[in-house]
Amino acid sequence: MPPLLKILFMRLGLGVLTLLLVSVVVFAATQALPGDAAKAILGKDSADTERYEALRKQLRLDRPLVEQYASWLGGVVRGDLGKSLVGAGANVTDLIGKRVVNSAILVLFAALVSIPISILLGSLSAIWRDSKFDNVVNIANLSLASLPEFVIGIIMVLVFATAVFKWLPSVSNVNSLMPLSGQMTLFVLPVITLALAVVPYVSRMLRASTVEVLESEYVMMARLKGVSEPRVLWHHALPNAIVPTIQVIAINIAWLAGGIVTVEYLFTFPGVGAGLVDAVANRDMPVVQALVLLMAAIYVLLNLMADIVTILISPRLRTGLR
């Protein structure tokens, strides 16, 4: 087996183990909350002990915890995330499916916008170190990084949707039944808000590593060889500077997947984030469990991808595998 595949499988195994631990924590956390599913479904009617007990039996809440966990986990493995406790009791899988797609599109757009901008800003401020451009980018980055993303979102809404200009919708109620192309304007503000939250971290990290690489002897050597400045940057400096940034990018995309909660809620965007907020409010435990597990899986997967990419783009690590 090629060494890279070996690492991949080993890390996947570790990832599954991590998820298993997360599932235990998630399950335990939902158990620790006051009340249970039966109470949540019945609401005020839970005072009726007979109905409450019957429902508990029906939901198998009377079984030992370990058995409950095992049957829930069994369901997760089979793709059956259980039934929602709210309303007609729809399948969790159906319920969150659309939201996952919506959020995936949002994250994808945010990543596609923020990563190239970060690379551009980071490398340019490294080249023009201590220039006006660098200072402006630096101050902007620091201010953005110090604001929570929902504050940025509110400012965006004030400026572009309500108080100053009325160019864009302030509510992004994407309808999954309509074609995506007709609803692009709904994505603009959430995407910008998310991008503004990610760019400072990635671009500052890239600036730091590019500055270091530009001071290196191999960059000096490239210049003394007569290599053109753009080639020095793109060919000699960036491939080395990007390596430590890969991990930061991965963590930020993972954060996008989990951290969009407040942003989605702000724009009432029908994604996993808003879904999670609703589910927590409704004590809809199967949905909460499913969404948290999903977010954990995305973290694990993105970190794994970052490690693999790091190995692939650094020759020393790649050839070290042989």
Binding site: S216, M221, L224, G226, H235, H236, I313
Partner: protein
Amino acid sequence: MSGARSDIVLTVEDLRVVLDPSGIEIDDGVSFVIHEGEVLGLVGESASGKTTAATSLLAYQRRGAKMAGGRIEIAGTDILSLSRPELRKVRGGLISYVPQDASASLNPALRIGDQLMEILNEHSFGSSHAERQARLVEMMDEVLLPSDRAFMRRYPHQLSGGQQQRVVIAMAMANRPKIIVLDEPTTALDVTTQAHVLETVRHLTSSYGVSALYVTHDLAVVSCLVDRIAIMYAGRLVEIGPRADLFTGAYHPYTRRLLAAIPDIHAVRPPRGIPGSAPRPGSRVAGCAFTPRCDCRIDKCATEFPPYTGPDADHQVCCWRWEEVGQGLPVIEGEELVFPTTRAEEPCRTVDTVVVDVREVTAFYQRKEVLHEVTTTLCEHRCLALVGESGSGKTTLARCIAGLHQFKIEGAIEFNGKTLARETRGRTSAERQAIQYIFQSPYSSLNPRKTIRQLLAQPIDIFFDLDRDGTEERMVRVLEQVALDTSLLSRYPEQLSGGERQRVAIARALVAEPSVLICDEVTSWLDVSVQAAIIELLVHLQSETGVSMLFVTHNLALIRSIAQEVAVMQDGRIVEHGVVDAVLDDPQAEYTRLLLGDTPTIPADCRI
């Protein structure tokens, strides 16, 4: 300062480079010419501004430095007036650069072949890709490296140090430049590899008529390579002349002291260090900057910088007393040094008490055997030199004795008749105190966050029960022993020069009052002038304290000055073992002869 020859390739006139924005001079009024096919050696200590002058020839300055004046002309082109695109054509075309550290100068993310091809592509060598491909093969032949696809697809880290340096030299030769700037290209290499690289440079310059500027701190390295030598001190050229003239009749006290600092493998005299260190930009005095370190200074030296003068146009010097120096005015005060007085005629064990006994030691690095049944002894009041190239196992053996080896060891190491545990934590406090280790790099062996006082107090706290005054008193005493001022106690390592740092490292070992001192390549990071001073110090300390010393080095020329016995190591084995004079004068092992042949030295008729 040039001869009347017309074939001048490079002219440097009144070059001035300053720190930006402070305006402090790094290079001040440097002028020289290089003729066609000529190799000029630019020699000076750290901080003399020689590397800055060298990169200036390519109109390049490191961040924080800028050109403040002067003119540089290569083959009729005024380098400093070129536009960026024109300059690009000149760099790597007309003039090329070979850096000090090839391993750091090759891009770790790019294949060797791509990096070599790049310089041909960027300068549009030839007219077709096929022509460039052919040139690439030719280039690799010139530096005796393979040019097959497999080699071209390698990354820098997959080459040895010598191969990396050859790749960089091939790159510099790619577009058949008029002149190459070589910036200490062999300093990081073993003597054998260094000899190969020097041979390659010699061959290339003579067969293709390329001129070169060879920058170094070691006159011995360039003694059989260069045609002329320029000596640089504190940003100025202090002497320039034909090689033979400089070796046999230098006019500047500094040049003579640099020569005196070179360890001579023929053993005419022990090397003499230059006290102090070359002043950094900003701390240079008025007048001649060498004045504070010069033993022939007169009042005028401190106030007025001497003009260029000399016996003829080819040999120029800046010194008020150059004529006297040329006639034999002694440049070193004080009595002549002699080689270690307790010169042993007989090997250890025959007359002296054995302190460290290494018996059939086999050591592993991870699972690989790196030392094979090594047996040697270190006797009381003696110094044993352990010589070999990198990878020979000499440092591994030293670390085994010190208890720093982390992997399996077989066999026994005895100290005063008792077997030592493998690791320091298994050894008694007395054993740890008795064996002290001085590391190779004074730049990384001293904790940058501790003051010299804290660094020296630590071993005292660990091994001795001394009160505050007692500790302070011992620190002061040891600093005097290593010739450092006590005012350094409150400084941080960063504020000291390389030589001073190594003295602090020696002092740190000495405060523990060891009976065995292990010196692991302690001079390899230092200038030749500082190296000689450190050797002087170690010799003096050994005779004064009677400590037994294990001196690990790759430089055979050094050992006569310090050791009574030598063990030559190759591939984890001791291939020759004996009294220093016997081994150096009549080497038995083929490998020892090879090392001796590759060790750079100064001409036998050199006059100090």
